[in-house]
Amino acid sequence: MTADTVTETTASGGGTLRPGSRRGAFGRVWREGRPFLWRRRGAVARLGAWSLVEFTQTFLTGFGVAQALDRGFLAGRPGVGLAWLALAAVAALPAAVTSRALFSRLADLVEPLRDGLVRRASAGALHEALTRPERAHTGAVSRTSHQSEIARDGWAGLVMALRSCVFAGAGALVGLAVLAPPLLLVVLPPLVAGWVLFAATLAPMAARQHAYLEADERLAAYAGALAGGLRDVAATGGGERLAGEYTALTRAQCDAARALARWSAVRVLALALCGRVPPLALLAATPWLLGTGMTPGALVGALTYLTVSLAPAVQALMTALGTAGGRLLVVLDRFTGRVPELPPARAASADAGADPAEPGATSADAGATSVAAVPRRPGAGVRAEGAPGHAPCGVELTGVSFAYGPGARPVLDGLDLTVRPGEHLAVLGPSGTGKSTLATLLAGDLSPGGGLVRWRPGEAGAGARPGPPAGTVLLPQHPYVFTGPLRDNLRYLRPSAPDAELARALAVLGLEPLLRRLGGLDSLVEPARLSMGERQLLVAARALVTPSPLLVMDEATSHVDPVAEHRVETALAAHAGTLVVVAHRPSSARRADRVLLLDGPRVECGPPSLLARTSSLYRELTGAPPPAV
């Protein structure tokens, strides 16, 4: 629940937001809530200290009335009576000033909770997006932030109600004891009985609340899916079926709401036992109390305590516990558990001119003994030599397989491939033949299910290593541009890139008009205001300012027009060490040194000119209709 633990916990896997069984929810929340409160014991103490004002004020309400009557109005001295009432009124005045301080101390307890929840939620959402992209929805993101607000409000309400009940209650009970100690004997039994009854309803009530919220969320999720696909519902004629399922969900939700209503009726009874029975008990006991020497003023004062102070405070706390409390528990429980650890930063790319030392080279040597030397094509290294400061890196795949799940057919099966250092390889194939998977494997972003992927930096004969070299860049098809300064967006892969290089990259890619439109490197970029093509070009510029021994582009120019795509690929081919392009258009293949054709079990590889002669699949994929290209 805390900000501090987010980065400290060493855990992985498992999402943070689980549907959570209600059983043990309190235990889980308490386990993490206790250290949170313990660290903030100072804030709790200060909150208590400021609440003493409320204690005094409550004490004087009843005591003042009693004294005003006994010593003033009933004793024929109205002046004294007025003085006591004035004292009670004056005791209320500090609250005008102190309640601001009180709420500031409340903020000390509430704001850190919200911060911690937001940190956890965003770590969880990021982790989920990284590990299970198919489950990452921005809708879940907004739901999460909404829940942290529910927790903030619920927690604040609970703290204030609890605090008020404790201090007003203490003021009233001390007042009763001072007025006439036997009053406590009369008042306490129903008060305790009421709390016992309430406590008994708390667990079932929380369970109903949990069921209600879950039913609500299921319904909202279903309605959301439905609302997003009405055209398809109408076109398929599946409306009846969806309406049936929706009705079942509304029915479940209605049942949960009715169960909740029944329990809130029980809560009214518990509340009555605490708030309404004590005055009756007082009346019934009055003849006896008067006999023990209680004054008329004390009777009126006691009635004031019970009706004006105690009953509202108890009601506020019970309401807070019964409604906001249940909701808070459900919401907090979703944030409990181990916070997933986000993957650490990759070794940053070496800046231009720096020595591209490879720290992992020695340990990798042992595993590389069986690897045959890579035949190096003359000419492949020429371009690499033109890009200073980062030696190109080759990749070897031996018998690589990958499947997306236990029941899945492998998308890549026993693939052997050698990407030579410094070459420009294009990957071509029909949809779903594993092109993106291959790109991710080449960049070291995914580990193969079977076989070996090894990276071989620099010259032939250099040691192969089990991890991708520092500065390996993968440009996915979806361009990530974030709301922030243009400069930060461009320096995303290399934070130290100087402005001159950024400007040059923009110029090379023909992005100067965009730069002018935005208003310079300091201007704010809002992705929603850029077209997908512009975003892909910005991302390409990002790669152009980052020295990279291995650059993998996964259809990263799919939204860019053919002319601009040509410009991007040429610039990046000249810039990067080794370039692998998952081709979106046939023209990308024609620009490459070699082309890898993927089509399920069929794999072909060779220079484009050769494949054009020998491969029918290649001709089908590239020679197909478009006369315009």
Partner: protein, 611 residues
């Protein structure tokens, strides 16, 4: 063939009348009195629980108002030192018990009533949404519609209980004032003098908090935006190893959020401080005047107790404003729900095209007008049974609208559409949907698993048919790559735009009828895969008539004939080879002939990027 539909018409009219009667009985249709507000409709739907809440609430309020007077008498009797006034104590107990029991009844009755009405409203709202033309429901964004179907209905269904509670809530302060006036006029005057500042304070309070929360919500939105962007760009974040950097960037505005959050608490504390002073001071004022009257012998101790209780009830205006607030929220929710509940339903006459018909599609003088603009004008087309017609044209030419009209996803504003001679507007919806299949560029898929998503429709095909359809749509290879193949839950299936398209195609193939309409349904497939699908389509449905909205030259070239749309009108119809001689026809494909491998073609993107 002309006699057949007329006979259907007669039967359809009977059915229509029967349906109208059903609607009138069940209150299921759009009620005629929607303008009079939802509250009336809700009260008519469940009158007794609302009346019960009103009666119980009023009873509880009356008991609460009688209690101080009884309490006063009891205290006086007790202090007089005479016999213990058991009957008065019993009266106090009875009044308390009544109030508590009635309060519990209000909680139960009210809660159950609102829950049932919520369910009723939700089902009615959804029925309305599903019954209408999709484009009318599309006037609401999916997020907005979701809210209206869930949170809005809950709030709206609360209206009867909120109205009853408001009436009861008004009883208490008014009754309190009456009670204090009846007991002692001078104390009543003291109370009335204190009330204006109270009202003033409530106004100050509302003004202050809104100003403070605006900043808070802005900072909050920044966090949410950054997180959504980072989640959206997860592939880059993972590849660049910047997850921790992103986490820091997303949570950076927390510092600002903290500042604004603390300010909201201070402002709130200020308002609470003022009210927490005002109430005790007001009570003290009433007690002071009452005390002086007591000293003067004009008031007894018991009456003083009663006065102070009545004063507390009288200043309990908060309950009234609270009740009024929730009533206002309910009514606002009702107003938001109105447009959903009054969506006009699709009409039909229960007709069906002749059984075994070949599937001839005719569009006769079809026009569609949106906001004064002719999206389609006087479209006259005939697609002979079993043939395929490609619809081409620049973006905005009306291709998708034509596809929607051809299968009655949209009613034309003029002209009519006929399938085997029967007007689509007359055909029973279930028959209509089993005879006409659709596949879209961005299909929405329904069902727990991939197999369910393909099987979704009027009829549930068996697993073999599902696989065959997936095969024909070139979806089988990638489905078998999923973690659990066809049984993979949809939400666990990582799918690209092109893969979703193929599931959408498979869904259409799994429900063969007379007519298949493909609206940009193969745009996300590479050319090789598209060709495979087309071949399967030609084989698979030799008897099916096809209408294909096409962007690619190759797709148009394969169709039997091409309809070339321009500005909503048919410019030419004929075989692709003949049209191809026209350079303007060729220009339609300029910039669109590039294979798109994912999602929807982003023509605007490309032209913009090229600038």
């Amino acid at each position: 063939m002309s006699g057949e539909p007329r006979r259907k018409d007669r039967r359809a009219e009977q059915e229509e009348r029967a349906a109208q009667e059903r609607r009138a009985e069940g209150g299921d249709g759009a009620p005629p009195d929607e303008r009079r507000g939802l509250l009336a409709a809700l009260l008519r739907r469940r009158p007794w629980p609302a009346a019960g809440v009103l009666l119980c609430g009023a009873g509880a309020a009356l008991a609460a108002l009688a209690l101080p007077a009884a309490l006063g008498v009891t205290v006086d009797r007790l202090l007089s030192g005479g016999a213990v006034p058991w009957q008065w104590i019993a009266l106090c107990a009875a009044l308390t018990l009544t109030e508590v029991a009635l309060d519990a009844a209000v909680a139960l009755l009210g809660g159950v009533n609102s829950a049932r009405l919520t369910r009723w409203l939700r089902e009615r709202a959804l029925a309305g949404v599903l019954r209408t033309e999709p484009h009318r429901a599309a006037a609401f964004t999916p997020g907005d519609l979701t809210t209206r179907l869930t949170a809005t209905t809950t709030a709206a269904a609360d209206a009867p209980v909120a109205a009853a509670s408001t009436v009861c809530a008004v009883l208490l302060p008014v009754g309190g004032l009456v009670g204090i006036l009846l007991t002692d006029v001078w104390t009543a005057l003291a109370l009335l003098a204190g009330i204006p500042p109270l009202i003033l304070l409530l106004r100050v309070f509302t003004r202050d908090t809104t100003a403070a929360t605006a900043d808070y919500q802005r900072a909050q939105a920044t966090v949410a935006t950054r997180l959504s962007e980072a989640v959206d760009g997860a592939a880059t974040v993972r590849a660049a190893g910047t997850a921790r950097y992103e986490h820091a960037r997303v949570t950076a505005p927390l510092a600002e959020l903290d500042v604004h959050g603390r300010r909201t608490w201070r402002v709130y504390g200020h308002a609470v401080g003022l009210s927490s002073v005002l109430l005790p001071v007001l009570t003290a004022l009433v007690l002071a005047v009452g005390g002086l009257r007591l000293a003067a012998g004009a008031l007894s101790v018991g009456e003083l107790v009663a006065v102070s209780r009545y004063a507390t009830l009288a200043v309990g205006v908060g309950a009234v404003t609270g009740a009024l607030g929730s009533l206002a929220r309910s009514r606002a929710a009702g107003a938001r729900l109105g447009p959903v509940l009054t969506l006009p339903p699709f009409t039909h006459r229960g007709a069906a095209p002749p059984p075994g018909g070949p599937g001839t599609l005719e569009l006769r003088g079809v026009a569609v007008v949106r906001e004064g603009v002719h999206v389609l004008r006087d479209v006259r087309l005939t697609v002979p049974a079993g043939s395929s017609l490609a619809v081409v044209g620049r973006s905005g030419a009306g291709k998708s609208t034509l596809a929607a009209v051809a299968g009655r996803l949209l009613d034309p504003d003029a002209g009519d559409v006929r399938l085997d001679g029967v007007r689509l507007a007359d055909v029973d919806p279930v028959v209509l949907r089993s005879e006409i299949g659709y596949a879209f560029g961005r299909p929405a898929l329904f069902g727990p698993t991939v197999a369910d998503a393909i099987a979704f429709g009027t009829r549930r095909p068996d697993p073999g048919e599902v696989r065959d359809a997936a095969h024909a749509a070139a979806a089988d290879p990638f489905v078998r790559l999923l973690p659990h193949g066809y049984d993979t839950p949809l939400e666990d299936a990582p799918m690209s735009g092109g893969e979703r398209q193929r599931l959408g195609l498979a869904r259409a193939f799994a429900h063969p009828g007379r007519l298949l309409i493909l609206d940009d349904a193969t745009s996300g497939l590479d050319t090789a895969t598209e060709r495979r699908v087309q071949r399967a389509l030609d084989r698979h449905s030799t008897r099916r008539t096809r209408l294909i909205v096409a962007h690619r030259v190759a797709t148009a070239a394969r169709a039997d004939r091409v309809a070339w749309l321009e500005d909503g009108a048919v410019r030419a119809v004929g075989p692709h080879t003949r049209l191809w001689r026209d350079p303007e026809y060729r220009a339609v494909f300029h910039g669109e002939s590039v294979p798109e491998q994912s999602g929807v073609p982003a023509v605007e993107d490309r032209t913009e990027a090229a600038r």
